[in-house]
């Protein structure tokens, strides 16, 4: 039994323009001590997904289940959710300055977190605990620094303070939403190292939400790639990077400038991510997919196992043999597309090939 089991989670927001279907049926699980990376572009639903677990999406219509340590978080009364949030599931956000109160000392804010969940801890003991936590996340002279205000901390130190706060109640799971995006490369490396080390020490499960495949390559065990509110592909880290099956995953990997690939042209994905109010019918990725087939226009693929280990799954109509970046895989893709593409899909493929960003990546 996993620590967290999410089953068919759906979240939609009614707006004046129509219903925004932010998450459209996502299932995944996280085991204790593991790190799952959730990757996706803006608007893929990755943040809404995790905020829903914490009851932080007011106004959203939620269905499905998310069983954490035996309790279904979806539909849980606020009172009970409060006890889980922070104490058992902690969150680290992208921008630590807006998550810290500017008028209170950093140490006080951490101590407050401890006391909010356990009134039996004395103020002095909580303050002492705050200093310990600051030391644990690598803040030098923690006793003096606990008396600083957030603006006196640098960006990296603020993120360390946020991590200290997240750790204060020894949570079973940490959700980190783009925790290093606002930081410089050398500081990002410090923070990722810190997260990894703390996780190894305490066996915490970590959900890492990011748009940066480099961060995922670095610290995740498993990866879920999201597109338009659904999981496009899910696999152990190496499979995602070396045996990608979904054309979107493959497109993301090929979009990144990579020194080993030389200074040639990049192969971007054409077009834009869809609006979540008007999600394309069939596979949501089909209007941008170089391998679009007739079936993709009408039938939405579910997650299908693509390897012997049933964990690697992909929501794409291409055959299992199409996984990977090898020539054989490309051959398998071309063959399937050749059989599966007729008039309707051919029109779309033509439009993709003619779009200004296309780099001859579409099969004619």
């Amino acid at each position: 039994m996993s620590l967290l089991e999410v089953r068919d989670l759906r979240v939609s927001f009614p707006t004046a323009d129509g219903v925004v279907r932010a998450v459209r049926g996502v299932s995944f699980s996280v085991d204790a001590g593991r790190t799952i990376g959730i990757v996706g572009e803006s608007g893929s639903g990755k943040t809404v997904l995790t905020q829903t677990l914490l009851g932080l999406t007011p106004g959203g219509e939620v269905s499905g289940s998310a069983v954490f340590d035996g309790t279904d978080l979806i539909g849980l009364p606020e009172e009970q959710l409060r006890r889980i949030r922070g104490a058992q599931i902690a969150v680290i956000f992208q921008d630590p300055l807006t998550s810290l109160h500017p008028l209170y000392r950093v140490g006080w804010q951490i101590a407050e977190m401890v006391r909010a969940h356990d009134k039996s801890v004395s103020k002095a003991a909580a303050a002492e605990r705050a200093v310990e936590l600051l030391a644990r996340v690598g803040i030098p002279q923690p006793r003096q620094r606990a008396r600083d205000y957030p603006h006196q901390f640098s960006g990296g130190m603020r993120q360390r303070a946020m991590i200290a706060m997240a750790l204060s109640l020894e949570p079973k799971m940490i959700i980190a939403d783009e925790p290093t995006t606002a930081l410089d490369a050398t500081v990002q490396a410090q923070i990722l190292d810190l997260l990894l080390r703390l996780q190894q020490d305490s066996g915490t499960a970590l959900i890492m939400i990011t748009h940066d495949l480099g961060v995922v390559a670095d610290i995740a065990d498993d990866v879920m790639v999201m597109y338009a509110g659904r999981a496009a592909e899910m696999a152990a880290k190496r499979d995602i990077f070396y045996q990608p099956h979904h054309p979107y995953t493959k497109g993301l990997l090929e979009s990144i400038p990579n020194s080993s690939a030389g200074a040639g042209r990049l192969r971007p994905i054409t077009g834009q991510p869809p609006s979540l109010i008007n999600v394309p019918p069939g596979c949501a990725f089909h209007p941008r997919c170089a391998y679009v087939m007739d079936k993709c226009l009408t039938d939405e693929p579910g997650l299908i196992p693509v390897a012997q280990d049933a964990y690697h799954r992909s929501a794409c109509w291409l055959p299992v043999t199409a996984a990977g970046l090898s020539e054989q895989a490309e051959e398998a893709r071309r063959r399937t597309v050749g059989e599966g593409r007729h008039e309707a899909a051919a029109k779309i493929a033509e439009a993709i090939a003619e779009s200004p960003e296309a780099e001859g990546s579409v099969i004619a």
């Binding site: 410089d184 490369a185 979009s255 080993s260 200074a263």
Partner: protein, 368 residues
């Protein structure tokens, strides 16, 4: 600070920056605010941008890269030093004399939405440069704008739309169309793709490469993503706290960095390749970048440097070509990295033994 220039014929050089300095005064509190110090944002930087090529500018927040770019563009006056553009020193020009050069140098910014007036139509935004410089009017202007829109991959029929109706990538295309309207020679791109999703980022990078070729543009390309910079640049320049740490052709700088800061920066950048990430030895720097108001004496990197010795805190290292490097590869370091030297064995925490964040000295400055 004297800096040897890369030996290059001036005909190939579009921009030559000589010992550029930009200090911002720090005012004290009180009724008559007196200057109590200076932010040494750029402190003696020399560089050249070859014609039709791209110079990549790399460095962390606060290293002065944006200030340098704005000085070169003439948006803010330099404290001292020269910016020689096509043979003319821009720092000596008054506003009127500067005007023709404003056409030649254009900037594009990180946040394309923030740099577009939300209440004006796209056609009129892109047509602005024509209006300001009075080069085209009426239908002629509209035609020029639509041509430019098509060139950057926008639908010319969207001439009358507002910026809000476009996506992030399309907005960056609008910014590009506006920058290119007057056929400039130099484009200064300050983090042009940082705010874009990777799939869109690749579209814009390809577009920039096409435009460079078609219009013979030179680029000063600022970005914090080292892989992006490597992809687009011919030359790179690494800045740290207002100074040049290392500069040269991109391959030697990336493949055999000589400055420990360059090496740390490169090792810190996450690569989207799990096996490479696992194999790589990280150089984790302790602490943060110190304040540019009171930069450390000697080499500005020494409080964070895994190789620092006593000399480093006393003497400023000159920017020079180190033994074995091509003459255009310059490094400002007393103890440059030797081939096959492994910095991860230094006392600074590596992945296995982190928790040595004892660089308390280096924290002090950053929060003053």
């Amino acid at each position: 600070m004297t800096t040897p220039q890369p030996p290059e014929a001036d005909g190939d050089v579009l921009v030559r920056v000589e010992s550029l300095v930009k200090y911002f005064p720090v005012k004290g509190a009180g009724l008559v605010a007196r200057t109590v110090g200076h932010v040494q944002a750029v402190d003696g930087v020399s560089l050249t941008i070859p014609r039709g090529k791209t110079l990549g500018l790399v460095g962390e927040t606060g290293c002065g890269k944006s200030t340098l770019a704005r000085c070169i563009a003439g948006l803010i006056p330099a404290t001292s030093g020269q910016v020689i553009f096509d043979g003319t020193d821009l720092t000596r020009l008054n506003r009127r004399a500067m005007r023709p050069f404003r056409r030649e140098i254009q900037m594009i910014f990180q946040d394309p939405y923030g740099s577009l007036n939300p209440r004006r139509r796209v056609g009129s935004i892109i047509g602005d440069p024509f209006a300001v410089h009075k080069t085209a009017t009426g239908n002629e202007r509209k035609k020029a704008v639509q041509e430019m829109m098509e060139r950057v991959g926008l639908n010319p029929e969207h001439y009358n739309r507002f910026p809000a109706e476009f996506s992030g990538g399309q907005r960056q295309r609008i910014g590009l169309a506006r920058a290119l309207a007057l056929r400039p020679k130099l484009i200064i791109a300050d983090e042009p793709v940082s705010a874009l999703d990777v799939s869109i980022q690749a579209q814009i990078l390809n577009l920039l490469a096409d435009l460079q070729q078609d219009f013979g543009l030179s680029f000063l390309f600022i970005a914090h993503d080292l892989e992006v910079v490597r992809h687009v640049s011919d030359q790179v320049l690494v800045m740290y706290l207002g100074r040049v740490a290392e500069q040269g052709p991109k391959d030697p700088v990336y493949d055999t960095p000589r400055h420990p800061y360059t090496a740390a920066l490169l090792s810190a950048a996450p690569a989207a390749d799990p096996d490479a990430a696992a194999a790589r030895q990280r150089i984790i720097l302790t602490g943060d970048v110190p304040s540019p108001i009171n930069p450390p004496a000697g080499c500005r990197f020494h409080p964070r440097c895994p190789k620092a010795q006593e000399l480093c805190s006393q003497q400023d290292p000159p920017l020079e070509s180190k033994a074995g490097d091509p003459p255009t590869h310059l490094t400002a370091c007393h103890f440059p990295i030797q081939p096959h030297e492994d910095l991860t064995t230094s006392t600074v925490g590596s992945r296995a033994g982190l928790g040595t964040s004892t660089g308390s000295d280096s924290f002090g400055g950053g929060t003053a």
